[in-house]
């Protein structure tokens, strides 16, 4: 009976996702404690603090009334984001390969797009006290422009997110499709099988370039410095997350850690050919890749200022061209 449970695919997926989730809660702490704090020569928070203790604390805090025109949807969005990330994780496990519609690159790209769109909606629906207006025309200094439309700073985040969806995340999606050119299939099962026969895609010229592009896209989609214009501290601060408190904030924090791990797992599947499953030692490679990405991201972000549109556009353009190059090389 015990053997039957172990070989049950649903059980294997649940345990895999659970293990990956537990490890993912440590990733934000590792980034802050062992990379940022070490580079900045300070002690930093306990490693469990940002990813485990903070969500636990938030979970038991009293919620505040959210300032949003559609509070129900606004509060639901972090949960939707978490479910989307969970779906990507499930799609990556080999047990999900029996459902081709789920375990395909198109599905993964679709899920990632939903995650991005949630960010736009959060920005559009958030109205924090940070930019609250006077309830009357502001004439303290004899203001010249009383009839201008008034906008909350989170709205800027929404507009920036929209731009990032349009062109910002382009490098990531190009990098995701680079392995397809080698394997000749959009199904994860075929991509993994191809690499198990021919070796990891990462160690080809096309794969190497695509890996660099993937890393840039990884930082962009995680809104990490220098690509954090959506939540730049110099203007929009936390952006659309500003109003989330208590359990909603906890979900936001948990989702970020989990997303970091899942993106690492996507890389493992597409570029190394090792899917995450508790039934194989290959899961250690997934964990190692997630950690390497976190370390690299931590180092890059610690030494970069936030990019404004002036720097962002050329960087994304350059990364996009590299992505196209990797695809062309893959096709040749």
């Amino acid at each position: 009976m015990f053997e039957n449970i172990l070989t049950n695919p649903i059980f294997a997926v649940v345990i895999t996702v659970l293990v990956c989730f537990i490890i993912s809660t440590l990733l934000p702490g590792i980034e802050r404690k062992y990379i940022h704090a070490r580079i900045q020569q300070r002690i930093g928070p306990p490693v469990t603090s940002p990813g485990i203790m903070a969500p636990l604390k938030f979970m038991f805090k009293e919620n505040v009334n959210i300032s949003s025109p559609v509070p129900g949807l606004y509060k639901a969005l972090p949960v939707i984001c978490f479910i989307v990330v969970l779906c990507v994780m499930i799609a990556l496990t080999p047990q999900a390969y029996m459902i081709p519609a789920l375990a395909s690159l198109v599905a993964i790209v679709g899920f990632l797009k939903v995650e991005e769109i949630c960010y736009v909606l959060m920005g559009a629906l958030s109205k924090s006290v940070m930019s609250v207006n006077m309830p009357f025309p502001d004439q303290i200094k004899g203001a010249a422009h009383n009839n201008a439309n008034r906008s909350f700073i989170e709205d800027i985040s929404a507009k920036r997110s929209l731009r990032m969806i349009t062109y910002g995340s382009f490098p990531l999606y190009l990098a995701l499709f680079a392995p397809v050119t080698a394997a000749g299939s959009i199904f994860l099962q075929d991509i993994v099988s191809f690499q198990q026969v021919n070796g990891p895609f990462l160690f080809t010229v096309s794969g190497g370039i695509a890996a660099i592009v993937f890393f840039i896209g990884y930082m962009i989609i995680l809104n990490e410095y220098p690509f954090s214009i959506i939540k730049a501290k110099s203007d929009v601060i936390e952006g659309p997350y500003m109003e989330y408190a208590a359990k909603y904030r906890a979900v936001v924090v948990i989702t970020r850690g989990f997303f970091m791990f899942v993106l690492g797992a996507i890389f493992s599947v597409l570029f190394i050919g090792v899917p995450p499953t508790i039934m194989s030692w290959g899961i250690l490679i997934n964990i190692a890749v997630a950690l390497i990405f976190v370390f690299m991201m931590g180092i890059f972000s610690a030494f970069s200022p936030v990019f404004t549109n002036r720097q962002l556009l050329p960087t994304i353009l350059g990364a996009t061209l590299l992505g196209i190059l990797s695809i062309v090389l893959g096709l040749l």
Binding site: H36, Q41, S131, A143, N149, P226, F303, S304, P305, T308
Partner: protein, 375 residues
Amino acid sequence: MDEKVPKSNIIETEIPMGTVHPAALEPYRVRLFVEDEIVQEAEITIGVNHRGIERIMEGLPVEKANALTEKICGICSNSHIWNSCRTAEMGLNIEIPERAEYIRVIMGELERLHSHFLYLAHGCEVLSHETFSMRVFYMREIVMELLAMIGGNRVQYGCSVLGGVRPRCDLDEAKLLRLKNDMDALEENLTGFVDRFMADSILLSRVTGIGVLPQKQAIKLAVTGPTLRATGVARDLRTTMFEYDNFDFNVITQPDGDVKSNLIMRALESFESIKIIRQAIANIPEGKVVNRDWEMFDTDIVQSYIEVPRGTLYHSYRLEGGRVRHSIIRTPSMANIGAMQYACIGDQITDAQLCIVQCDPCFTCTDRAIEIIRR
């Protein structure tokens, strides 16, 4: 550079920031009028920290009033009490011992280092470069400890008194040696930081050509101090102050008036401050540090201007029965607000806070002034 012309007709959106915003050191309100994330006009409103210090000074004994001026600013506290004492000393013809003058200069230059390092660190913070920000704050810590060694506190040192400096602020051999060693360490650290900063092309791309304040506009707005010198005007009141007669230093200027020029200005000026402190340590004369031999009498309005880290500081009052009357204090931040509003025009919203802090990161010192708009 051509003068930037604010748009007065079509303004798409107003983005209000503050009065409380994490990127701001102090509470103030900024209204950015933007089109496609480009700032077309900016409006800064202060008034949240109004404390009425000039009003409180009215009728106070001059010694108490001097001590009160220190509360005007947490960063330039020494400059205020120095200039306030200087005003009374000029009115009462009090002769200052030379050793006290040297100690005042040392304190003034340490405060300049403290202010410039805070400026650099906050600038890096607004650029979201936390690592550089931390690095400068560590350097600033050396200065803060030196200020605490001399004054007894990290801020509000109470160093200057009428006739010189407080006896507890006198510098013995051990303190002078520590000052000398720490200046060496500071110079080494600062050189490393400047080299690293100037070699970072990503950082330079964020600060070059951003928040430009043309020289003509800076003069028109009556901007003083490093913000003016960063536009290429070699004007430093220290060259005319008798306290600095025995010191050799250069007036640093930069050509462009942008964020890069302002940051480099402060860094290079910090080297000059280290140079001045070294000269003071080497040549500090022996003798008493305070002259108690003076008499109080009524004076006319006395005005005193000194160069403080942010620009030109003005104090004036008259003495009547040993009490202060008609006190007026004008800090450089007053003119800097106009410069900030101007500097924001034409840049991205993300750069707006950078344009503001490049002129001056704090306002509280000037939050006493009243602007009368005649219609």
